[in-house]
Symmetry: C2
Subunit: 538 residues, 2 copies
């Protein structure tokens, strides 16, 4: 007779979950055992919860359906929260399975007891604590449905240990809630007509794309609209997954700095949100305006609220406006690669190398932060690829995201571009890359600073951080040796201090199967290159 | 004119806070700047929030007064929650300062927006969101008072960016709430008399020590009680800080396994809780009794509720029972060191080496888990030292705790004994050890397994984890090279695969200033030694 844990796992599997990113403990052992019974469920061990949740985010973004995590009580969930925050902002479907103390044990306030529901609530659209083993497969199926959406979201199922180990009876298991049963909401004809009218008004207009609208079908529909109406194609500052490259419709990403984003939107009279939210500044700054959208601009959402089928909506708008507006082919990005420069290794020249070498079908994870500002430009005309960004601002996303993207996309090269400061939040992901033999080329931009804080302090008009305080921006005492760190976790690695070295190591990483890390020695923004023979400066 | 951030920092400093464990971001930049103005406030940069909070725990346990953390919005606090959970269980005084978005920015639901209050509430006895720069010094002083207790606790002050950067006016700052103004509650005479009567009843009795009762004065008072009454001296399974070693009263720690703890308490008719909670099992197991305290045992708390002065209470009891009970000197641990064995390197022989070499005044951080079960026995008769344990069960505590303990205790050697699995939750702490030049000898017990899960699965009566599921217990594919990891973060290190190598490396670590890491290659419990020449097996 199955127990509750077996019902959870079979319920997840029947609902379509195929991978579990796990950092389990005692409360989850029956769930671990239940995973044994389902050969089709891939188990990926992570040495820290933030790796498991970030991997589930990367998996969900690329697979389009939820993976699950398996985490240990409240502290385990807590460790995973920063990357679940990013996943929530990305609209990624994830099912967290959290083992809890046995129900009879809760009142004892044992050392690991804490308020799991409060923690889960900060990131989850759906949270349930299970009480009855007999219906655990249903609970699991409902969790998957809640995660799959629409809208896609984080769902958390809390499974007490005694519910997991209890007999679940003979019931025929989950009803096998059909996958995708919840249809996306239709975008109404009124909404479509309103958007079409706005775009054809002759006033400057733009489409701001996000969510599913930044994937191929959405992009192509949006490009038809743009071709017919002259509307500009923009996308969110930090898209969860942007398909881009040669042949795809090019979209301009809103700048991170509010002033840059506002400049891009300047003069726009009609802004159509297609899967995106109203753009706002990342942070407030003293004496600065919070507005990104210009005054007098009319904002309309297509498939608002996250539940509408924004791709169908864009297609419907394209059908309405097609043939009536300016006659032109939908825009397509020209195939163009940067010339690899001769100069010193900098963020800019490293970006050129990556633009020159990025393979077709690559999945690029971008947490390069200040060192990465040249990357979008340098890779714009590379062969088609996906670009995944730091949606929620919680650092430590890049390496875990690469784990999950690679699990979701066997056969596709994954390139993780990560700032050194960001990499150090979740370096344990490197071990999982090695363990799973994932084909990921990691670039760590080693500028030995939290350079973003220097920039932010400038944007704040000078927060008054002096020399002593600046020590908190500075990562060069001692220098981090990412080659040693990678090798310590079973990932081969090399250090590049010149453009030639960087090109050679990137080539090697892309050519060889499995993970490879390149430490890319660059100056912090506004500082001179630190180049020199590899290895002399660390 | 000072701004709000300067008021926060001056308020903290005037209330006695002398160190800030920081992982700041944009929302905290004015707080970073304010730290510049207070030369007496030590700033310790941590590369991950869990290091900052664990370090604050180690600092608070040893300093006896709160250090502060500086963390970035909700995701930053979230990353620090697992070690704040441990700190909460340890009763450690900590003030978290969390920068939040500007108040005017909150409604925009910017990418980093989340429910900071919900997160803080899971670990904090006191949480406040500041709104008024003029009273921020008072807010800070109240946070320190809430953390300092009694009872000692985690306090969280949320400072919106625009409150931090606002003019705070000319007010003369904080009232400088005097440190320690809140007196510990007195233990009533009735309570003392009741405890004394129970202990003199002639029935088997035991004192269960926790909190302040496991420090020198509490131990000595408890030992007087034991000498006079014949009561046994026990302490919690996971004490926050236990003073022990030659000349100090020896106490028996309750076993981790409920059956062991119950056996130790078997026959006890009067159990007096002195700073400890009623002992409960860590986890529930199917078909097993949750009781640790035997039926018919009367349990009394001395200074119940955490606010009473348990040391004064023990002294009062000792005064009442002194001279009336069995005539004997208070028990004192004999000075005795293990002989360093010849055999293979195992958890047991490694413990003997540590027992032989542990220096006087050492602060020992113990997150060795299954590899560490021989440590308490082997070090019992070493010169006096402090022993800090994993109070809340959230892994990743050991290395950060060592950071904070070393900051609190310059001049005392710190020895961090950490299991490999546990070390990988917060390895970034090594970098801070190197940056601050802290005199910490780290031992990583490399058994390449989550061996605790094997034990737990046995204790569950077999959860049914098969060969496939056991891969989630297994850390040897690939092997972690802690020497490389340490060097990658600026900490020199060596690997020991024999007892002789281990002795030599421990000696070196203790002799040399600054941090040093020893990878101690041991078999997982119940498996044969993996010994061999160092370096051949990784």
């Amino acid at each position: 007779m199955p127990n509750g844990a077996q019902r959870v796992v079979s319920g997840l599997f029947e609902a379509g979950v195929r991978v579990c990113f796990a950092n389990p403990g005692t409360s989850e052992l029956h769930l671990v055992a239940a995973l044994d019974d389902v050969p089709g469920m891939r188990r990926v061990l992570c040495l820290f919860e933030g790796v498991a949740t970030g991997a589930a985010d990367g998996y969900g973004r690329m697979a389009g359906e939820p993976g699950c995590t398996l985490l240990h009580l409240g502290p385990g969930l807590a460790g995973g929260l920063p990357n679940l925050h990013n996943a929530r902002r990305a609209g990624t479907p994830i099912v967290n399975v959290i083992g809890d103390h046995a129900l009879r044990h809760k009142r004892l306030d044992a050392p690991l007891e804490s308020d799991i529901g409060a923690l889960a609530g900060t990131v989850s659209a759906w949270t349930r604590r299970a009480f009855d083993a007999a219906v655990l497969a249903d609970d699991a199926a409902e969790a998957v449905a809640a995660a799959a959406g629409p809208p896609r979201a984080v769902a958390t199922l809390i499974v007490p240990a005694d519910v997991a180990w209890a007999d679940a009876g003979d019931a025929v298991g989950a009803p096998g809630m059909p996958r995708g049963v919840a249809a996306r909401g239709l975008v109404s004809e009124v909404e479509v007509a309103g958007v079409a009218a706005a775009l054809r008004s002759g006033a400057p207009a733009a489409l701001l794309l996000g969510g599913a609208a930044t994937h191929g079908p959405g992009l192509r529909a949006a490009a038809r609209v743009a071709a017919a109406t002259g509307a500009r194609l923009l996308c969110e500052t930090f898209p969860a997954r942007l398909e881009r490259g040669a042949g795809l419709p090019p979209v301009e990403r809103l700048g991170y700095r509010a002033a840059d984003a506002a400049a891009l939107l300047s003069g726009v009279r009609h802004l159509v949100l297609a899967g995106a939210s109203v753009p706002v500044p990342f942070f407030a700054y003293p004496g600065q305006d919070d507005a990104v959208v210009p005054g007098g601009c009319e904002v309309r959402a297509l498939g608002g609220g996250g539940g509408g089928d924004v791709v169908a909506g864009l297609s419907a708008v394209a059908d309405v406006v097609g043939g009536r507006g300016p006659v032109s082919a939908p825009p397509a990005q020209e195939a163009v690669r940067p010339v690899v420069p001769d100069g010193a290794l900098t963020g800019e020249s490293a970006a050129a190398v990556l633009g020159a070498l990025l393979p077709e079908g690559a999945v690029v994870v971008d947490e390069a932060n200040t060192s990465g500002i040249w990357l979008p430009g340098a890779t714009a005309g590379a062969p088609p690829h996906d670009w995944l960004t730091l949606t929620g601002g919680a650092l430590g996303q890049g390496l875990p995201l690469a784990v999950g993207a690679a699990v979701a996309c066997p056969g596709r090269p994954v390139v993780a571009l990560v700032a050194d400061g960001a990499a150090m939040y979740t370096p344990q992901a490197l071990w999982t890359l090695a363990r799973e033999g994932l084909d990921v080329t990691v670039v760590v931009f080693s500028n030995r600073a939290y350079a973003i804080l220097e920039l932010e302090q400038m944007m704040l008009g000078g927060a008054g951080v002096g020399a002593a305080g600046r020590e908190l921006f500075d990562l060069d005492r001692p220098a981090l040796d990412f080659v040693a760190l990678a090798r310590g976790m079973g990932v081969d690695a090399g250090r590049a201090a010149t453009v030639a070295e960087f090109s050679a190591l990137i080539g090697r990483g892309l050519r060889e199967p499995g993970p490879f890390l390149v430490e890319c020695v660059v100056p912090a923004i506004g500082r001179p290159a630190r180049g020199g023979p590899a290895g002399t400066d660390s």
